[in-house]
């Protein structure tokens, strides 16, 4: 990888040069975080909506816990997944520790509470607004979930992006469960930690700028898509 004393030149050289190793690291980072967000969405969107619609004993406790888990330290999540997937742990026979799959699992655990808690909040305010209308259509809560999620889609996009931001920026968990293995589990954030520890600060910061640019690009893309859709659909 190219090196210069100026992190901005380094970042520029990294982006323009795009050598194979950097390309692999960027691809792996995106793959892991996107899969983690996708899996988390499949679970968290219905869960959040259900929490918004159903009243059951202990509901407030669940909501408080979900909100609290938004602040779960990544290292703690990583440690839990490590102990689960370690050969000496309950899921040890799967042999997943120090693999990209382990990193996906850790990120799902970090992202799921964010998406579920924020979805709950979005859907609940929408539900309060349209409750009578939905009732007059005779929809059961189960049928209301997809309707409300669809109506809240633009707000939920931001929620999902928040989840993606958490996943792609996180380093503590993927370091522990991935092991930062060169060419196998080394992602953008763990590369930054490694280069910092080598004292190669310009390269570390350069990688940071590349990561930030990527995340900005993805957010811009999502923004454009949602704005276009809003205009089309009125």
């Amino acid at each position: 990888m190219p090196v210069s004393d100026n992190p901005f030149y380094t970042a520029l050289a990294l982006i323009l040069g795009m050598d194979q190793r950097l390309f692999d690291i960027v691809t792996l980072s995106l793959q892991i975080s996107l899969i983690a967000v996708l899996v988390a969405c499949l679970l968290a969107l219905p869960l959040g909506a259900a929490l918004a619609l159903w009243r059951f004993p202990g509901r407030n406790i669940v909501i408080v816990m979900l909100n609290a888990l938004m602040g779960l330290p990544p290292v703690v999540a990583g440690l839990c997944v490590y102990l689960l997937l370690s050969r000496a742990g309950p899921l040890g026979q799967w042999g997943l520790l120090f693999s990209p799959s382990a990193m996906v699992i850790a990120q799902v655990i970090l992202v799921l509470p964010i998406i579920a808690a924020l979805t709950r909040q979005q859907v609940e305010s929408l539900h309060n607004e349209y409750d009578e209308q939905l009732r007059s259509l005779g929809l059961s809560p189960l049928r209301m979930i997809p309707t409300l999620l669809w109506d809240a889609r633009f707000g939920l996009l931001t929620v999902i992006l928040a989840g993606f931001g958490r996943a792609s920026a996180e380093v503590g968990a993927v370091m522990i469960v991935g092991g930062n293995i060169d060419g196998v589990t080394r992602v953008m954030t763990t590369s930054i930690v490694l280069e910092t520890s080598k004292g190669n600060l310009p390269l570390a910061l350069g990688l940071g700028i590349v990561l930030l640019s990527l995340v900005t690009l993805i957010n811009a893309l999502a923004h454009v898509v949602s704005e276009t859709a809003k205009r089309r659909l009125g």
Binding site: Q31, L34, I35, L38, V39, S86, R87, A88, G89, G92, Q93, G95, L96, L97, F98, S99, P100, S101, V104, G179, N180, I181, D182, V184, L194, T196, S197, K198, G199, N200, L201, V225
Partner: protein
Amino acid sequence: MQKTTALVAAGLVGLSWSASLLAEDDFITLASTTSTESSGLFGAIIPAFTDTTGIEVHVVAVGTGQAFEIARRGDADSLLVHDTAGEEQFVANGYATERQNVMYNDFVLVGPSDDPAGISDSESAAEAFALIAESESPFASRGDDSGTNRAELRLWEDAGVTPQGEWYRELGSGMGQTLNTAAGMNAYTFTDRATWVAFENPQDLTILFEGDEALFNQYGSLLLSTENNPHLKHDLATQWHEWLLSSEGQQAIADFEVNGQQLFFPNAE
């Protein structure tokens, strides 16, 4: 809807890609120290091993204490660390069947170039440590139960000092992070030579004491026991262990240089 389809497709591609990674069986996981990884040694010697045997080596670089823990739990197939006493204990406890010397280098004491504790004229490492404690000059310790940390603590003991007080700062970090911090606060610190030579942010730090026999830093390779962990890739790990000790492996270690300087000296019997 199209977006959903695209997302699901992307997910499936990703999953099949992780599955392909899982299916790959010709690799071993090696738990080792940060000094061997961040100096670039593994990047230089593993390709030669892979060329000869077709076996890939996945290096998880952590402190020696954590490397022992990873191996004890059965999460690594092989172990290469630098704490001979700890390694022998590991064999005695039945977690490994064999331990061999692979290579050595040495530790050095680095500190601010004006050397406020005056350690550069010391007769021995113990004297240098005693002088730092006496002058209460800031000292950055790894404090992470790594091999380097264990060696440092033994030297304080030799110096007859119990390091404590505001001048003694336990960082709980890897070697590179500790060097960054020591450079930032202009403190003395204890490091292996390999990490030091490859380190690119020394600022005002320089080597102030070196060359005492007590600073010898031996690396050993351990063949792990399959008794408690039958899933270990014992055959592949044995090939790695034996390659390290072979003339080819020893030569590869000797050939590794940073800035024209040899960092590890092979000494397998």
